[in-house]
């Protein structure tokens, strides 16, 4: 690391990162807690990815037995739970934990100790879930854990379901704490001049996400408590003698808004990245905010579209179909506003911008296939097939994961003081884009041909070639993610020094040092619009930095 010493490192870098372990364990600094959230999320991403690769090996050819059916069911459940609960949601909470207070000009979150407790519940939740693997087998009923398959009569041999239910209860409590904290922080701790109409769109996205998690976290915990009552106290809520479909209602009342909990912060990050690199203000700020709240409201009225085959009244099904399709309207508004923001722009395709456009190109497919799935008659064919698996990965991988990468490449210089390596980043983007589409685009056809999801193996030779292509492509994704981690580790120690404002961005976090000092700002800059940093730059109150040459970064 001799080369590192020659670079002028901001003093705050050392202050922030090289703390003794006891300080990491007890810190209430929102930035350190944010980093711990993000690291936890990324570790879960690796674990969930390894589960996915084993699943893909198992499915690459008919009649394989890389793992047995019981293990396979545990793997698909663990893949889903890990990616949804422990990776995407946790990572996004982390990046918001780091950025939201700085973006609104606050010194910390409103309740720093609640923040500390909320974070440390996450490893408890994760360890509880994986604890199931050491008690005769983890949850094996899918990440949705449909009753009555989770009932003791069918799962008597292991405590995996109990560990899952407890893990999710702890997770929900942690999420409710974080949501309360975000809402209070944003309402109470904004800097002078930071009116609600001047909030960065990422902060608006965090408001809507927090409202969602606050509303649906409790019903999720309630459903899990009832599952435990059924298993341990002999009640009959969801059992074969009870009402199994009631569980689905409770679960999806959480489960569908959870999709938006995982994508709205991503929408927020894209709304930050595109204006910065197109050198234009966001198009339709107010309609972007209105669309967020349209999605929040609609997402709580659509849950039964996951249940169109259980035999509901057709008018009830019609209602859920209509509400689901209406979500296309606010989502469309956001999409068109992003395109209009870039239109006529002077676009610099840096890595965050590449991932933002990768997101736009792929998420569109997830949105359109969502309309097919919302149509009740068509859904009865597509439901529980590989078409749905393809759709949900277009939404969660093409959506959430691409936005997460955009956010990491955008904010890594602020968090570490150093830029990520450009060449490795280009490789990361293109291998991910090709690998992702190679894996999931072709997967739609498997569902149309009749391959159900969650089958441990299959006999139909017609599905073999498609599955092999998918498996090979999934390893390209793994290669891409490996490049990403190499890049993060290398750049963290030896990357190019970024400076305070490497992108000539618009929002307050770029006014302080990279990384920011523990108190965030020595003096909070004045806020006169929703692009306070640009105002300062134009008023000559920031040190002038020349516009970089195209393609130089």
């Amino acid at each position: 690391m001799a080369a590192v010493q020659t670079l002028p490192r901001p003093k705050a870098y050392d202050d922030t990162f090289w703390k003794p372990i006891t300080l990491w364990l007890t810190t209430t600094d929102h930035k350190l807690i944010g980093i711990m959230y993000m690291v936890t999320g990324l570790l879960s991403f690796v674990i969930g990815g390894i589960f996915a690769l084993i699943i893909r090996l198992q499915l690459s050819q008919p009649h394989l037995s890389v793992v047995d059916a019981e293990t396979y069911n545990q793997l698909i459940s663990a893949h889903g739970v890990t990616m949804i609960f422990f990776f995407v949601t946790i990572f996004l909470t982390g990046i918001a934990n780091y950025m939201v207070p700085i973006m609104i000009g606050a010194r910390d979150m409103a309740f720093p100790r609640v923040n500390l407790l909320g974070f440390w519940l996450v490893p408890v939740s994760i360890l509880l879930y994986y604890g199931g693997f050491f008690t005769g087998g983890a949850l094996d009923a899918g990440w949705t854990g449909y009753a009555p398959l989770t009932e003791k009569a069918y799962q008597g041999h292991s405590l995996g379901v109990d560990f899952w239910a407890l893990s999710i209860i702890v997770w929900a409590i942690s999420g409710i704490m974080a949501s309360t904290n975000f809402l209070t922080t944003i309402v109470a701790l904004r800097a002078p001049g930071m009116k609600l109409t001047r909030l960065p769109l990422f902060v608006w996205a965090q408001i809507s996400t927090s409202i969602l998690l606050l509303v649906v976290g409790a019903p999720l915990a309630a459903a899990m408590i009832l599952v435990e009552f059924d298993r341990q106290l002999g009640t009959q809520f969801f059992t074969t003698q009870g009402r199994p479909v009631l569980y689905q209602h409770l679960f999806w009342f959480f489960g569908h808004p959870e999709v938006y909990i995982m994508i709205l912060p991503g929408f927020g990050m894209i709304s930050e990245v595109i204006p910065v690199f197109a050198r234009k203000p966001i198009f339709g700020y107010m309609s972007m905010v209105a669309a967020l709240f349209g999605i929040v409201f609609l997402s709580m009225t659509v849950w039964a579209h996951h249940m169109f085959t259980v035999g509901m009244n057709t008018y009830v099904e019609g209602f859920f179909m209509l509400m689901t399709m209406l979500i296309a309207v606010p989502t469309g508004i956001k999409f068109f506003n992003w395109i209009a923001t870039a239109w006529w722009g002077s676009i610099e395709f840096t890595l965050p911008m590449k991932f933002a456009f990768g997101f736009l190109a792929t998420f569109l497919i997830g949105g359109i296939t969502g309309v097919y799935l919302a149509s009740v008659p068509v859904d009865t064919q597509l439901h529980q097939s590989y078409y749905v698996v393809a759709h949900l990965h277009y939404v969660l991988f093409g959506g959430s994961v691409f936005t997460i990468f955009a956010g990491i490449y955008y904010w890594f210089p602020k968090i570490t003081g150093r830029k990520l390596n450009r060449t490795l980043g280009e490789w990361n983007f293109w291998t991910l884009f090709v690998g992702f589409n190679g894996t999931f685009l072709i997967m739609h056809t498997l569902g149309l041909e009749g391959m159900p999801r969650r089958i441990a193996t299959y006999a139909n030779p017609a599905w073999a070639a498609t599955n092999m292509i998918i498996t090979v492509s999934s390893f390209l994704i793994a290669f891409s993610v490996l490049l990403f981690f190499i890049n993060v580790i290398r750049s963290w120690y030896g990357g190019e020094i970024a400076g305070n404002d490497p992108w000539r961005a618009n929002t307050l976090e770029w006014a302080t040092t990279s990384p920011p000092p523990p108190y965030n700002f020595e003096r909070v800059p004045p806020v006169r619009s929703f692009m306070p940093l640009r105002d300062l730059r134009e008023a000559g109150e920031l040190p002038a930095e020349p516009e970089p040459e195209p393609g130089s970064r």
């Binding site: 059916a69 019981e70 449909y146 009555p148 398959l149 074969t240 199994p244 197109a278 050198r279 234009k280 203000p281 198009f283 339709g284 700020y285 309609s287 085959t309 259980v310 035999g311 019609g318 179909m321 209406l326 296309a328 309207v329 508004i333 395109i339 209009a340 239109w343 006529w344 722009g345 002077s346 676009i347 610099e348 736009l360 190109a361 569109l364 359109i368 309309v371 097919y372 149509s375 009740v376 008659p377 068509v378 009865t380 064919q381 439901h383 529980q384 097939s385 072709i442 056809t445 149309l448 041909e449 009749g450 159900p452 969650r454 089958i455 193996t457 006999a459 017609a462 599905w463 393609g551």
Partner: protein, 266 residues
Amino acid sequence: MGPGDAALGADILGAVKASITRLWPLAIAPAAFLLSSCEAPGGISPIFPTPVSPNGQNIFNTYIGISVPAIIVFVLVEAALLWVVIKYRRSKQPAGYIPPQVHGNFTLEIAWTIAPLIIVLGIAGYSFAELQKDFQPVTNYDFEVVVSGHQFGWNYTYPEGFTIQQEGTLAGDVQPFVVPVNKLIRLRMQGTDVIHSWWVPAISGKTDAVPGYDNFTWLKIDRVGTWRGECAELCGSGHSTMQIIVQSMEQSDYDAWVQKQKAGQS
């Protein structure tokens, strides 16, 4: 709103119009491909297997119907993205170009709120009509078969009293569920332990077999043949073995088959 806003609106609308006229064939080609390749056996197919029952045929038609606006929207938006990527990158702009600082355009924003609204209301109405047609309980059925799902297999109880058992296996074929052609048969789905889902893609969509209540679907197969499906709801370690085979035969063959079953099981 600045002076550039109206011009931006005209620019975007102009580009959309130009794309519609230029890219129309691009939207039609995949739809034609969808329709023409529906007979393709196995391999990569963008559509369900050829439907053999009227309810499956209607779902198939609904799928094609949704595909027309879906493909047009997909092509237009991806074209707009490509246009932005190619046309507005900094290296293509004149040196020192400062983009117009546009904050929004009310007319445009209303337009792209209303247009998707009309499209999805159309799709919802179209789908709801099909929902009312084929997903109501049928009363004019010729006979009813009770389909019961269990870990891991299906039992089919005929009105004549005998039961066909499809015990799950991946080693070979299961015993077929035999029906006569051109007869409307109501299936009464029952779950005896956990939730299962009965799905034969060539016939129609899925119907869950849930413990605690009866769920209904129907079929009316228009030709002689054999169709395959599987259980579509994760139901335990034997989930992937729960094959379904439906065989349809002429009425006379079917009658003889029924007699044989009755003799065999009495």
